[in-house]
């Protein structure tokens, strides 16, 4: 009875899964065709794979620059978020004053404020200090994500027994020693989870670069794909080839980090 039911489920779910994946199959398979072939049989496999789209895209778009821009912004933003977030969590854990309690409440409120409602003033602030159209400016905007990191990290830090901190204190370690050499290694799992989760946000984000970046040389990958649509309106196999190239790191990241992505999703949602 049991194994038969398993087979029935497979017979329904596996084809359904394939149906969900059709758009991905479609874009990947058509990067290996000429435009005439795609129009003729949009879903068929090419008789002989054609690589012209790939060489054209690498030739016509500054992919390496955009990739490095994205990498720079993502790495720096995540580092800032994690450091600011874990420092704040540690400060809140150490202190018992009413002022810090108040700060904790303000952070909850700030966490619920959508970025859209502060976007225009932040934009004008960055215009004033000449950080619009700069990658550093993007990192500054993303540092707002430190508040989300703080929430996940402080929850995890509370599970660390306070005796460990006390023991280190008795041994004569100052707060900074305790933070760097004791706390950070202990909370590594949550740092990885939050880091992975926020990486997906920054790497994939469209609204911030679209608002703050205007020079072609400072584009992130997502923005590059967006601007390329004007360039490739007629040559759409070239456009989807660009999309597939840009999606490749995401796929690799997904395969390597699936476990962390799922745990981040679950932990992030409980907050």
């Amino acid at each position: 009875m049991k194994p038969r039911r398993g087979i029935a489920t497979s017979l329904v779910m596996v084809p359904l899964g394939c149906l969900i994946a059709v758009p991905f199959y479609y874009i990947v398979v058509n990067t290996f065709k000429t435009q005439a072939q795609t129009t003729q049989s949009p879903l068929g496999l090419p008789q002989r794979p054609y690589f012209g789209n790939y060489s054209a895209v690498f030739h016509n778009t500054p992919l390496v620059t955009s990739f490095l821009n994205t990498l720079y912004v993502t790495a720096l933003s995540i580092a800032v978020m994690l450091i600011v977030g874990s420092m704040a969590a540690f400060g809140i854990i150490l202190s018992k004053g009413w002022l810090t309690k108040g700060l904790g409440v303000v952070l909850i409120v700030a966490f619920l404020v959508p970025g859209q409602s502060t976007l225009i003033p932040v934009y004008q602030m960055l215009v004033k200090v000449h950080l619009v159209d700069s990658l550093t400016g993007l990192v500054f905007v993303y540092s707002a994500g430190a508040i989300f990191c703080y929430f996940l990290i402080v929850g995890y830090m509370r599970t660390v027994p306070s005796e460990i901190i006390e023991a280190a204190r008795i041994d004569g370690a100052g707060p900074f020693r305790i933070f760097w050499s004791l706390m950070l290694p202990l909370i590594r799992p949550i740092l990885v989870t939050v880091g992975v989760f926020q990486t997906m946000w920054v790497w994939n984000d469209f609204i911030t670069p679209n608002v703050f970046i205007s020079s072609p040389g400072k584009q992130t990958l997502v923005l590059q794909v967006y601007t390329a649509i004007g360039q490739f309106t007629t040559d759409w196999p070239a456009f989807i080839t660009l999309s597939v190239i840009v999606l490749t790191p995401t796929v690799i990241f997904f395969i390597l980090m699936q476990r962390h992505i799922v745990s981040g999703l679950v932990k992030g949602s409980i907050k």
Partner: protein, 294 residues
């Protein structure tokens, strides 16, 4: 002395987050509220007080009212459809069957890449011309002429919501799955011994124990839906007309491209109030529902 040193250290630890809070939340929020009562254009030295005019315009201007309407439709319908699909999907994905890991990953994956890129890719898939595979398949199978997926008001709205459901259902199913896996198997064993049918078990065990997950998932869907920008913007640019215009798109267009900072700020404040009300209402309802089951 030691006490004092520790207090100093605590302030140093809290300093960076306080800076983030002040620079990226408190000051901008105060400015948004202030600008919303003025005709500030982003460049002039002066701004004039205009009372509630900007707020009134938000409800009368066709682009802004269109964006308010579509954002509501989008938030509510993606929440409903994704929830209705994700819960049964999670129940099925919790069973043992061959190829389960593959199916889980495939359903989950569309939530991983950038929504903006997916939107752009789908513009090609839904295109009425040669690249539109949906239309060419429909033509080949049913002989239906090209369907204007993205150029008819209703169809464009449905297409945006459809792509969002495609991208989001697996993600939320995985969220429900995590909660399902924490339900002890004994509950079902006892119910089976008592002769409960699987429909009864779903109604009396699975659904009540999933209410915390439903609170979380629908809250994420509703707030995410209200904040949406990437997907409709890349798929339809907000068109045709203002059929798929979003609040965020209106804020950006008014406040940055057109220099109507006062107007954009009024929208931003309204937006903040709506999101706040939705969060409060949701938490209130969730508490009552969870209270009934426990």
């Amino acid at each position: 002395m030691d006490r004092l040193r520790e207090r100093g250290a605590i302030s140093l630890f809290l300093l960076p987050i306080a800076a983030v809070l002040v620079l990226l939340f408190l000051i901008p929020l105060a400015q948004s509220v202030y600008y919303s009562f003025t005709d500030y254009d982003g460049y002039s030295a002066t701004a004039h007080y205009v009372g509630l005019r900007n707020y009134a315009t938000a409800f009368t201007d066709s682009s802004m009212f269109g964006s308010l309407t579509f954002t509501m439709i989008y938030a509510v319908s993606t929440t409903l459809v994704i929830t209705v699909l994700a819960i049964p999907l999670a129940v099925v994905l919790n069973r043992r069957f061959a190829g389960r890991n593959f199916v889980r990953s495939v359903f989950f994956f569309p939530a991983v890449p950038s929504a903006a890129i997916l939107g752009l890719v789908w513009t090609f898939i839904l295109n009425p011309l040669g690249s539109g595979v949906v239309n060419s398949v429909l033509h080949a199978i049913a002989g239906i002429g090209p369907v204007p997926w993205l150029s008819d008001d209703r169809l464009a709205q449905m297409s945006v919501i459809g792509v969002a459901v495609w991208a989001g259902t697996g993600w939320h199913a995985v969220l429900y799955l995590a909660y399902l896996q924490s339900i002890p198997a004994e509950y079902y064993e006892v119910a089976t011994i008592d002769g409960a049918s699987s429909a009864q078990m779903f109604r009396s065990i699975t659904l009540p124990l999933l209410t915390p997950a439903m609170t979380v998932s629908t809250l994420l869907l509703l707030t995410g839906g209200l904040k949406v920008y990437d997907l409709p913007f890349t798929l339809t640019k907000g068109g045709p007309g203002f059929a798929t215009h979003t609040i965020t798109q209106s804020i950006i267009e008014n406040g940055i491209a057109q220099g109507r900072v006062g107007q954009a700020s009024a929208l931003a404040v309204l937006f903040l109030i709506v999101v706040g009300l939705v969060v409060l209402a949701q938490l209130f309802i969730a508490r009552r529902v969870e209270g009934r089951y426990s």
